[in-house]
């Protein structure tokens, strides 16, 4: 006489559990592969839409932007004058100007211009060693690149500032790049004051500057 027993099937893990685990793994992988590069975070985002050029359409968002420059510019301008007398004042002021210049070139009406982009890259390269704290790094490339960058911005949308921008470049080319003697410091300080003024002016919409 036969006897056959049965037993309930062993419960298998829910497919939703497996799907959830797969989604979790994919999310983690996506986070690690697609997270923003930390170096990108150093570049300030163009959160303020400032000055539109004349060539922009009248209803473009840039033309409706508030005609106020970034508040930090005043602090940069003041630091250009309050740090005088210290040996690293030019370096410090130039590095403080760096994010402001970058922010300017990130503006909606400027960021797509190839010349501005090129000058911005030049400026970033020229100030890289200064930013790294290399005491042997020369100031001159950064000072010149700042003037060239402002000239490119001026040529993009501020035709009436042609003279000032070219004067700034000329002034930059006459700098020695050293910051040792009081005379050199004064020369650098005067130049950076001009840069700050120009940067401040270019931070206003073109229609307000014209």
């Amino acid at each position: 006489m036969a006897e056959l027993r049965i037993q309930p099937k062993k419960p298998t893990p829910s497919p939703w559990l497996l799907i959830g685990l797969a989604v979790l793994l994919l999310s983690a992988a996506a986070y690690f592969y697609l997270r923003p590069d930390p170096t990108d975070e150093l570049v300030p985002a163009a959160t303020t839409t400032l000055a539109p050029a004349d060539s922009l359409a009248p209803d473009s968002p840039a033309t409706q932007a508030p005609a106020t420059p970034p508040a930090d510019l005043d602090s940069v301008a003041s630091s250009a004058f309050t740090t005088e007398g210290t040996s690293s004042s030019t370096r410090t002021t130039l590095l403080e100007l760096s994010p402001k210049l970058t922010e300017l070139t990130d503006r909606a009406d400027l960021r797509d211009d190839a010349a501005i982009r090129e000058q911005r890259d030049n400026f970033t390269s020229a100030t890289a060693r200064l930013a790294d704290g290399d005491p042997q790094a020369s100031l001159r490339p950064g000072l010149l690149a700042a003037a060239s960058l402002l000239l490119a911005v001026q040529q993009k949308g501020y035709p009436n500032l042609d003279t000032e921008a070219n004067n700034l470049l000329r002034q930059a080319s006459q700098l020695s790049g050293r910051d040792a003697t009081p005379a050199e410091q004064a020369q650098n300080r005067a130049y950076l004051a001009q840069v700050t003024t120009m940067l401040n002016t270019l931070s206003y919409p073109a229609r307000d500057v014209l």
Binding site: M1, L4, R5, P8
Partner: protein, 114 residues
């Protein structure tokens, strides 16, 4: 099936004469007792005395597990109470609804032929 117990589905069902007369099609179980109660056997065509099935149907019978012997090596089910020639007198399993007297009829058929 419980571990160690064979699954007779698909096995040949043979009578006491050794002749095959069907194949185990399904198992009817008691879930509470966790035991197989009946083998649902699909009868072969052309058995003596068994009328041909209706179109798209098969002739089936239920065999109590207690009335069979399992040949695990040859995958055969032996029913000593039935034979190839006498299976026609066994009550057919027509529907999945078991009549109240169906089990009694099966037992009587098995006893009578033993």
């Amino acid at each position: 099936m419980a571990t160690g117990d064979p699954d007779p589905r698909g096995w040949t069902v043979r009578g006491r004469d050794g002749k095959a007369f069907g194949v185990v099609h399904e198992l009817l179980v008691d879930p509470a007792a966790q035991q197989v109660l009946y083998l649902n056997v699909q009868l072969d065509h052309g058995l003596p005395g068994v009328p041909p099935p209706a179109p798209h149907t098969e002739k089936q019978i239920l065999l109590p597990v207690a009335a069979v012997n399992l040949d695990t090596e040859g995958s055969n089910v032996f029913v000593t109470a039935l034979s190839h020639d006498t299976v026609a007198s066994y009550p057919p399993f027509v529907d999945f609804m078991l009549p109240a007297d169906f089990e009694t009829a099966m037992q009587q058929a098995l006893t009578a032929q033993s």
